[in-house]
């Protein structure tokens, strides 16, 4: 399988990337690690006429202590997330979830910003950033703006990013030693989650692949806030969700899985 023809531009700075996006409009797509975009292009499900490669912007690969929060560069690869000592200590949910993405080869290339900007409800890390109430820093022609994770995912493979904007940083709270859990259920080791659950105690519950966008399990969060047990809170895990049916699972099976996995997550996190 070979992608349709496109023009290739390599950006050497964020400003350069933004200028290229401004020049080419919505015919252009940003290329980071390429592990979501290139498979779509090979299947001709995506046919951008210009690729703007931001994969060499090493200045956007970092995990730093921003005082009350962690600041993570958009081009930080999954492999760095899973091994970074600061992230493992301060936000172990994200570090662990990153270690469950795809397989080692995918984690060597795929980036945090790429997976968030792709906006796939079946991806692991969007649900984690959502559960943690992260903030996404977006740069565009008018400067920088911050978007709450809760407002970022607007539809299936759609986000709040305009065609002329670029995600540059993700800010996450330090969860410290709060209990946490990431549950991923799949049939093949390297596959997407059939359903996944991200939970950090005192923050939130995120659901993978339970709708057209990554979701927060708001009914579970409300139940926990009113003192429900793990079992009782997990019983409402599928409330308000509209999971897809596909070759891996029916709607009913996904709703069942959400309840089971939320219960396991809450119990693992010590609820």
């Amino acid at each position: 399988m070979i992608p349709a023809s496109f023009a290739y531009e390599r950006a050497d700075s964020v400003e350069g990337a933004l200028a290229l996006l401004a020049e080419h409009g919505d015919e252009a797509k940003l290329l980071a690690g390429g592990h979501s975009l290139l498979p779509l292009m090979k299947l001709r499900l995506a046919t951008p006429s210009v690729l703007v490669d931001v994969g060499r912007l090493d200045g956007l690969s970092y995990v730093v202590d921003g005082g009350s929060e962690l600041r993570i560069g958009a081009l930080t690869r999954h492999h760095l997330l899973e091994t970074d000592p600061l992230l493992r200590a301060s936000c172990p949910l994200l570090a662990y979830a990153a270690s469950q993405v795809g397989d080692p080869q995918v984690r060597h290339r795929g980036t945090l910003g790429g997976t968030l900007a792709h906006g796939d409800p079946a991806s692991d890390l969007p649900a984690v950033v959502l559960a943690l109430g992260g903030t996404l820093v977006v740069r565009g022609p008018g400067g920088e703006r911050e978007v709450a994770a809760a407002d970022f995912f607007t539809g299936f493979l759609e986000t709040a990013l305009s065609p002329d904007e670029m995600l540059v940083e993700v800010r996450l709270p330090k969860t410290g030693d709060a209990g946490w859990s990431f549950q991923k259920f799949n049939r093949r080791a390297q596959d997407w989650a059939i359903v996944g659950v991200a939970y950090a105690r005192g923050f939130g519950v995120g659901l993978v692949n339970m709708g057209s966008v990554p979701l927060r399990a708001t009914a579970v969060e409300a139940a926990l806030a009113s003192g429900a047990s793990a079992g009782d809170a997990a019983a409402v895990a599928a409330d308000g969700t509209e999971p897809p049916a596909d070759l891996s699972a029916s709607v009913e099976f996904r709703r069942h899985l959400a309840q089971v996995l939320v219960r396991r997550a809450l119990q693992e996190a010590g609820v």
């Binding site: 399988m1 592990h35 080791a189």
Partner: protein
Amino acid sequence: MEISLTVNGERRTHEVEPRLLLVHYLRTVLGLTGTNVGCDTSSCGACTVLIDGESVKSCTVLAVQADGLDVTTIEGLAPGGVDQMHPVQQAFREHHGLQCGYCTPGMVLAAVSLLAENPSPTEDDVRHGLEGNLCRCTGYHNIVKAVLAASGQRVAP
């Protein structure tokens, strides 16, 4: 677009179409057919090569993305031929870590990358570390043994 990269220690420069995949560049432009195409969907790992020492699936990397970087294919592991095989290749031979051999180049390179990051892996580390590579013959047991042996750990014959 002109790209210039190092492949198995040799500088290579070519004019390529941006949509050319790295695996096709290696196989059809350079004639390095040791890298196999299996699923062509970044699932099976048969096309695994190293970029700057890290395993990647070359069916999901554009040749232009490798411009300026250092690529190692299976041919580059044993430039001296079968008498001077890489320790991981030796271990695959000694522990019968292959049958048909189709997955082997990718499996070996994935193992080289794994051992570079984790020089003394547990059996569990090896099994998880090779999740990106499918083998339909061996049932994996002898591959895992081979990787453990290549790390210098004693394994049952």
